[in-house]
């Protein structure tokens, strides 16, 4: 199947008073219809920036230096604002990390959800009377299994618990999404049991509607259970991509190996192995492979030339590392 979202060699920098941060460094990324993709990596390695670039909501000091993003044949970097809004309204949606901040605090849920439904383009919005909107809102809230939707509609965001707020956010996103749901660490700010519920719910709804999803998460278990394909990001590069099961059973890139070993174990003694050091300085990133200062296997070539994301075996397992790309 043809991919409908394609990010090619995307480079994005951020201008700051210290100098320019070269964050995204040629990101390649594709997504097919109803594919579920996970992105993992440390904080600050460009996962969210990539997603923001796709949606066109990068901070005002961001500079797109090269590459392209195409979504259903539209060039998302050159598209007119009006058309972009049309696409955002109908095709794309994003769930944010912190559901408290993602809901406008001065409006009741009824107003927030009602507006989304009203402008979703599903039906004539002249006909969208308060009653109709309320009924639709209640349906949307029921879909995300919120108990007592009537009461929720009459509440302000701060009167709800974190889990309820995230459910409201999901309901708002899914009221519009037709193609792609981007979930940026949707469960990070929730506690473990709620995390599980929210993820299950999201997975069910995504399956039911046949949506594509990009799930960003630090929780590797979540990723393993939810997505078909995993991308690993490090310092603004996609360094490995593979089917989920293969990646977890046979990680190739030294960073991925370290990342998987960093997960704290529930049983056994002591800390997990982890990766020493931290992500590089983006103002003067190390030349060649950006992981080389932390890599045990670093070779001469790693400090000189940047490895490309290439297929290793014939099974669509790609990695950007000189250990495998010898020739």
């Amino acid at each position: 199947m043809e991919p409908f979202l394609e990010v090619k060699n995307l480079s994005v920098g951020f201008k700051t008073y210290l100098g320019k941060l070269n964050v995204l460094n040629g990101v390649d990324f594709t997504l097919r219809e109803s594919e579920k993709v996970g992105i993992i990596g440390e904080s600050g390695c460009g996962k969210t920036s990539t997603m923001k670039a796709i949606l066109g909501i990068l901070a005002s000091n961001a500079v797109i230096e090269g590459g392209g993003i195409s979504f259903r044949g539209h060039d998302m970097l050159k598209i007119r604002k009006k058309q972009l809004n049309q696409i955002r309204r109908k095709n794309l949606t994003m769930i944010f990390q912190d559901p408290t901040a993602a809901l406008n605090p001065v409006f009741k849920i009824e107003e927030l959800l009602g507006d989304v439904i009203k402008y979703s383009g599903d039906f004539d919005h002249e006909k969208a009377t308060k009653k109709v909107l309320r009924k639709k809102s209640i349906e949307a809230l029921k879909e995300v299994s919120l108990p007592d939707p009537e009461r929720v509609l009459d509440s302000y965001p701060f009167q709800l618990s974190g889990g309820m707020r995230q459910r409201v956010c999901i309901a708002m996103s899914l009221a519009t999404a037709k193609d792609l749901l981007i979930a940026d660490e949707p469960t990070t700010s929730l506690d473990v049991t709620i995390q599980d519920q929210v993820l299950r719910l999201m997975k069910d709804l995504v399956n039911k509607r046949n949506l594509s999803i990009i799930l960003i998460s630090h929780a590797l278990g979540t990723i393993r259970n939810t997505v078909d394909t995993v991308y690993v990001m490090y310092a603004g590069n996609m360094i490995e991509s593979s089917e989920t099961a293969k990646l977890f059973s046979n990680p190739l890139h030294p960073y991925t190996q370290g990342l998987l070993k960093s997960v704290p174990k529930l049983s056994g003694e002591g800390f997990s192995e982890g990766i020493p050091g931290r992500i590089p300085d983006y103002i003067n990133p190390p030349p060649g492979c950006r992981f080389n200062p932390r890599c045990k296997h670093a070779m001469e070539i790693c400090r000189k030339e940047r490895p490309r994301l290439l297929e290793v075996n014939a099974d669509n397992h790609k990695v950007a590392c000189w250990l495998y790309n010898k020739g």
Binding site: I57, N85, R88, M94, A101, A102, N104, P105, C169, T176
Partner: protein, 294 residues
């Protein structure tokens, strides 16, 4: 009965009960509210409740000049025999009108400019708007108002224009700060992702988040505008005699101090009361919103 029902549903929709609870936790706010309500009532009812309403205009009564406060003339009479009590109550009219006109002229453009500058923060629009407002803020308010008022012919209308011209930048700044702190919140990004246009994001998402501080500032400013207006009148650049403006009355009576103290003292106290009332009310309104937005 139907009316009561309607009031009840409106009260419920806007959470009047909780707002009142927060407001009334500080008794001073309630005092402020009462003072403001009384002042507004007196100003509106001035022609009916004052003993000598015609003395607010051109009528004089030289026979009874310089009478000290008595039961007949509560605040005494001035150098032209006019009842100071009557003129003070009419003075409220002018003070409130001054504040009302100035804020009506100042708040909408100030807020809109601040909203635009804050939304396009970092761009040239922001630069242009905020630097221009800085120029206005750099000059001390009274000096600027004085110079403008003195270039124009002194009148109540020109005094209002002068005060308006130096007042809008404060609203621009306030809204600018509130907007730029809300600008990068996730919910604004979420609205962008959902395809809302900039106009809607500015006015329907960001502005409601700033309304609390704007409303508080409006209430507090009523007092300050009245003070500035009175100051202009005091130096003769505001309302001209025989207009019963509080500032003009204080100025007119000041030459008879301390002997006939009542002529300027009562209007002066009236100014203090009005300003204090609006300030206390403003504090109470701030109490409502500070916790609301938490």
């Amino acid at each position: 009965m139907q009316l009561m029902e309607k009031i009840r549903t409106i009260a419920k929709r806007y959470d009047i009960k909780r707002k009142w609870f927060r407001f009334s936790r500080s008794p001073l706010s309630v005092v402020g509210l009462v003072v403001v309500a009384v002042v507004i009532f007196l100003a509106l009812a001035a022609p009916f409740i004052t003993p000598y309403p015609r003395q607010a205009g051109l009528q004089t009564n030289l026979r009874d000049k310089f009478l000290p406060p008595s039961s007949k003339n509560l605040f005494g009479t001035d150098q032209l025999g006019r009842d100071v009590f009557t003129r003070t109550i009419f003075g409220f009219q002018y003070s409130l009108m001054m504040a009302g006109v100035v804020l009506l002229l100042v708040v909408p453009p100030g807020v809109v400019l601040g909203l635009i500058a804050g939304y396009y923060r970092g761009g040239w629009v922001d630069m242009a708007i905020m630097r221009i407002s800085d120029v206005f803020i750099a000059v001390p308010p009274l000096v600027l108002a004085l110079s403008i008022a003195s270039v124009l012919t002194p009148s109540a209308f020109n005094a209002m224009m002068a005060v308006s011209l130096m007042w809008w930048p404060w609203y621009t700044r306030l809204t600018y700060n509130a907007t730029s702190s809300v600008r990068n919140e996730y919910f604004v990004q979420a609205s962008e992702v959902m395809g809302e246009n900039s106009f809607r994001i500015m006015f329907a998402e960001i502005l409601p988040n700033c309304l609390g501080s704007i409303l508080t500032k409006i209430t507090l400013d009523v007092g300050w505008v009245i003070l500035l207006g009175s100051a202009l009148s005091f130096v003769g650049l505001g309302a001209q005699p025989p207009t019963p403006d509080l500032g003009t009355m204080v100025a007119g009576g000041s030459i008879f101090l301390p002997g006939q103290w009542w002529i300027s003292m009562f209007p002066a106290v009236a100014i203090i009361v009005v300003i204090l009332g609006f300030n206390l009310l403003g504090d109470g309104i701030r109490d409502i919103f500070v916790e609301e937005t938490r």
